[in-house]
């Protein structure tokens, strides 16, 4: 994989090719893989002197990516930053190679979008790559505590338990595969049948066995740098 040369802004820890921890101090130059470079750049832990270079690296990686908003959303800043594709629809679907499906009220930044997409990138030469990334809604709330009685009963009949964590469906990154297309179709069918968001997603997910990278609760909000460049 081609390496990207970055300059450390803060103290950056990296793992070298021998698996050893290497520490770079502010101002140090170092090389790293593209995925890691995007994360370091987007979280302001590293920089390139030329912001256009940063954009070029990320844009190249996100060439097959787009955002699908399930309602009106002002995404111009994000879309323009990386020349992402954008679509709007009433129900989830997968119009792009990698799609971020978002609820209309969600506040996002370009960093969120980019890092999420990197998570589901198909990795060349890898045995398998994550097909979907989604946050857990809560560390304590389970499927037994949300939704209608009918929703809970349906999930219980399907899975055998509702002592299950639920997912936050306001932001779901999905790579288009045969399995994820089927899962999304099932998700939509559940929604159209009147099932609540979380149970609709959970039931579809269970039935279609996606390689899902579950993200911790509140993942979107926490690691974002507090100051913009």
């Amino acid at each position: 994989m081609a390496k990207v040369q970055l300059q450390a802004v803060g103290t950056v820890h990296e793992v070298d090719e021998h698996g050893q921890l290497v520490i770079y101090h502010p101002g140090d130059w170092f090389k790293t893989g593209k995925q890691r470079a995007i994360e370091l750049l987007e979280t302001r832990q590293a920089k390139l002197p030329d912001q256009e270079q940063v954009k070029a690296i990320v844009k190249e990686d996100l060439a097959d990516c787009g955002i699908l908003s399930l309602g009106e959303s002002d995404l111009s800043a994000i879309v323009n930053q990386y020349e992402l594709k954008h679509a709007m629809a009433e129900y989830p679907k997968l119009p792009f190679g990698r799609t971020l499906i978002i609820a209309p009220h969600l506040t996002l930044s370009p960093q969120h979008v980019a890092v999420g997409f990197v998570r589901i990138e198909r990795r060349k030469g890898a045995y398998a790559s994550w097909e979907m990334a989604a946050m857990l809604r809560s560390e304590s709330i389970t499927a037994a505590q949300i939704g209608t009685e009918d929703d809970q009963k349906a999930t219980l009949n399907l899975v055998g338990t509702i002592a299950l964590p639920v997912y936050d469906t306001s932001a779901v990154w999905i790579r288009k595969t045969r399995d994820t297309e089927r899962m999304v179709e099932a998700w939509v069918q559940n929604l159209q049948d009147g099932v609540g968001d979380e149970h609709a997603f959970l039931q579809a997910l269970y039935q279609h066995k996606i390689l899902i990278c579950s993200l911790p609760t509140g993942w979107l909000g926490r690691w974002l740098p507090t100051t913009e460049a």
Binding site: V115, W130, E139, A163, Y206, K209, I210, S214
Partner: protein, 208 residues
């Protein structure tokens, strides 16, 4: 491969762990009286209570080498691994049902997440793990795991062993690093199944 194709496996090295595994297996029996159980234990330690046992080596932090070799040690197609210091308070069929649905692995997220995650590792292993992985992975607790012997699980466990050998200490950081290299189909179970109302977890009891 045995006829009923499923069972529960414990790892118990040392007196404390062996005591806990015996008590855990007794609690399991109240809800699953016919579920076969196997205990992995030390050489010349003998059986743990009524359950059959298999002797195994125990390099590094006690019990971890056996845990990362569970795919080789289990005799069933579908296996539930329980930490010795767990107690069963309810039906565990749901996890096996998840495997029948086609998932490779069912387990629970850990209680410590975010800034507290992987706090039980050495500083070097923790930092290396967090640097090796994408931002803020979800930490998973390996104390209660259902897994099916699939090609994906075989590859995951092989990578888990490789990762564990780097520090030969705890196993959860190694699992996260292994999962990043070898994703599998994981179904998350709720906290009730690990340190909850269906499976209790007496963290640290094996050391007493």
């Amino acid at each position: 491969m045995v006829a009923n194709n499923r069972g529960v496996i414990y790892v118990a090295f040392g007196r404390g762990a062996r005591r806990e595994a015996r008590l855990s297996a007794e609690s399991l029996k109240r809800y699953h009286p016919l579920m076969p159980v196997l205990v992995i234990t030390g050489r010349d330690d003998g059986p743990v209570g009524w359950a059959p046992s298999v002797e195994y080596d125990d390099p590094g932090t006690p019990g971890r080498w056996a845990k990362v070799n569970l795919d080789r040690l289990t005799i069933w197609e579908d296996t539930l691994f329980l930490d010795a210091d767990t107690r069963v308070y309810g039906n565990l069929e749901q996890g096996f049902q998840v495997l029948s649905q086609g998932y490779d692995l069912a387990m629970c997220p850990s209680i410590p997440q975010q800034a507290e995650m992987l706090g039980h590792l050495t500083e070097e292993e923790r930092t290396t793990t967090l640097v090796s992985l994408p931002i803020e992975p979800l930490q998973l607790n390996t104390g209660v795991m259902w897994f099916r012997k699939t090609a994906a699980i075989t590859k995951l466990f092989a990578e888990w062993r490789r990762q564990w050998k780097r520090w030969q200490d705890k196993d959860q950081g190694a699992l996260l690093r292994a999962l990043y290299q070898r994703p599998v189909r994981i179904w998350l179970m709720g906290r009730a199944f690990n340190a909850g109302t269906i499976v209790g977890h007496r963290f640290g009891a094996c050391a007493r």
